[in-house]
């Protein structure tokens, strides 16, 4: 819900604005936090889960931090960069938030990061968007990402499918925007180094409904299809692929088989059993912190997913970072948020999936989980952990210069010709 600012708040904000530069916020004033997720379109269910993660973090602080009430402003986008930008503008310029958390999707993140350059007085934390360039290409001083990104999320996956599953030749089917580019780079880096080959890379526009012609074009001499899609796109693809008699096993991008898909209403998803993927969390991770967090999720949202999804996780971690840092500085943001940003930069954040820190680009370094979709025996599906890669950074452990020499992840980078 959006709280209309009270008249008194508006008056004190005005007074504050008139004496700008000398004063910092008063301790009795609410802290204004904006949150932006996709509640429309292809990632609507994902956005809903992101909001749940945000609410859990605020709930953990009982709605206040260092004695200041947390006032929440919500906004929605539809996964397109321009909708994310206008929602971010509304939060910053009309609702005058101090901190903005979001957005959800890859290309949206790049747009919001660029906007962060124009609004140095606001501190931005990522939601779950996971494009590589957001923090690697011209990063913004005031944009922090405590969640890992698409390239990092696929760390270990290429090795796992090549060595454990024995897949040597794959076709790639992906949505055509920055997040899948990042995932493909993460996957191909390992898979191709080991000697795996990619028959073809196929891109479809986001929100493609009819995959029949793409399926007809699918190469036949492959061991598996690596699908980097999410939301309703992967559901449509799955349904149509099965209807057309497709039988190749899948390898999932991080959001292709996360809980928003495994818990979705509709036809059986048993086809997905055995599908490997990797990402920032695993549903059956038995660390006590994770289990406690999972139980809290199920308690807070009886109508939610079976287990918190990747989006809930990312929004939770980023919101938790913001609130923890705020508490460290006693609710005083400091001149130009300097105190807050120092605290964020140096934070060693305890999350349900281990300790997270940010690097010099304000990008998280965290553990990555390799998982396989399994049945819980009661008709439900979950991601069973089969491996953990610890402390994955944005350059996958390569020296930064060497990594950057290959260029940023893009539609045709890494090129498929070098992997055939």
């Amino acid at each position: 819900m959006i709280h209309k600012p009270l008249a008194t708040t508006a008056a004190s904000a005005l007074a504050l604005a008139m004496t700008i530069g000398t004063t910092t916020a008063h301790a009795d004033e609410p802290i204004r936090i904006g949150v932006l997720a996709t509640l429309e379109g292809v990632f609507a269910a994902s956005g809903q889960d992101g909001m749940r993660g945000f609410d859990m973090a605020v709930d953990r602080f009982d709605g206040e931090v260092a004695g200041r009430e947390i006032q929440v402003y919500r906004a929605s986008s539809d996964a397109s960069p321009d909708s994310a930008l206008s929602a971010a503008r509304r939060l910053v310029e009309n609702d005058e938030v101090d901190i903005l958390i979001g957005p959800l999707s890859g290309s949206e993140g790049i747009a919001v990061k660029n906007y962060a350059h124009e609004q140095p007085q606001v501190t931005f934390l990522n939601g779950s968007s996971a494009a590589q360039e957001t923090t690697l290409d011209n990063p913004a001083e005031n944009f922090f990402r405590f969640s890992t990104e698409g390239v990092q999320w696929q760390a270990g996956l290429g090795t796992y499918v090549y060595e454990e599953k024995g897949y040597e030749r794959v076709a790639i089917l992906a949505e055509d925007y920055s997040f899948p580019y990042a995932q493909i780079m993460g996957f191909m880096t390992e898979f191709c180094d080991l000697g795996g080959t990619v028959a073809e890379k196929m891109f479809v526009p986001l929100e493609t409904r009819d995959y029949s012609s793409v399926i007809a074009r699918m190469p036949q001499d492959i061991d598996a299809i690596y699908t980097v899609m999410g939301g309703s796109d992967i559901l449509n693809f799955l349904e149509q692929y099965q209807q057309m008699g497709g039988e190749a096993p899948l390898i999932g991008g991080s959001i292709a088989v996360d809980q928003t898909i495994l818990s979705a209403e509709g036809p059986d998803r048993d086809y997905l059993i055995g599908t490997p993927t990797s990402g920032p969390l695993a549903d059956d991770w038995d660390d006590p912190e994770f289990v406690a967090w999972q139980e809290r999720y199920q308690e807070m949202f009886p109508d939610g997913l079976g287990s918190p999804g990747l989006f809930a996780h990312a929004y939770y971690v980023n919101t938790l970072a913001a609130l923890t840092a705020l508490e460290e500085v006693g609710g005083e943001l400091g001149d130009g948020h300097e105190a807050l940003r120092d605290a964020l930069q140096n934070l060693e954040l305890d999350t349900p999936t281990g300790v997270v820190q940010v690097d010099h680009n304000r990008q998280a370094i965290a553990d990555i989980f390799i998982t396989e979709v399994s049945s819980d025996g009661e008709g439900g599906l979950y991601n069973r952990v089969v491996g953990v890669v610890e402390g994955v950074n944005q350059t996958l452990g390569f020296p930064e210069e060497e990594f950057l020499a290959n260029g940023f992840a893009a539609r045709d980078n890494p090129p498929v010709e070098e992997c055939q």
Binding site: S212, E239, Q243
Partner: protein, 289 residues
Amino acid sequence: MTLFLLTLLNGLTLAGLYFLVASGFSLVFGLMRNINLAHGSLYLLGGYIGYSTFRATGSWELGVVVGTLSMAAAGVLLQYFIFRFMEGEELRQTLVTIALSIVAADLMLWYWGGTAYQFTTPDWIRGAVSLPFTPLRYPTYRLAILVAAVVVGIALWLFLNRTRIGMMVRAGVDDKDMLAASGVNVQLLFCVTFAIGAGLAGLAGVLGGSYLSLAPGEDMRFLLASLIVVIVGGMGSIVGAGIGAVLIGLTEQFGLAYAPAYAPVYTFLILVFVLAFRPQGIVGRPLQS
């Protein structure tokens, strides 16, 4: 060769779905000169209502029936309470239907939310069948849509050309005033036509939602598809809607299969050529003022 054949079938089955939506749109336009820009909303609402029925009863067939009939009823209500009062005022009708579609989209978002829904189709149309004379297998469901479209097309043709009401509709297309003067209850005729047109949109909503999923935004997508199909084929003609649907369906699928990067462009190229060289559509007649 396999790819060509599959793409051809994909194009034809997609054309079947487009025909179901567009023929209703075209029928309403032909008789009433009413450009119903809320036609896409009828598609989505019919799909959603069908889905809710399916969820409540577990019967997909019942979902199809309820989705169709509820939209036919909605069509009658629209005609009786709204369009009756603005006959012949094209600009006003256009604005009112745009407003309706926006209001309906937000109401549907409020009630059904932003998630995508998918039907589970019953066993008798699930899976794939072997195609005769080829080693290929093709989804039964998509063929079923094509069959449904052909049946609906033939039924519509018979209705318009072989029944008394159909005769009145055709007479109304040519000269509404003369038809009224000869003692026909034109308002009733309008209601019947609108019910058929809207019911077809509802039917397409359930059938389309069963393999393309239902989500906000589909209303505009299918409105646009219907507009393109009837502009290319010719406004107000069932045969035109058929030709337009086949042309657009094939273009989209062959585009996706052979040159996906430019896929969205081809449809509009066809539209541009038709508007430039034959603005009344391929089998359309020029509008009489």
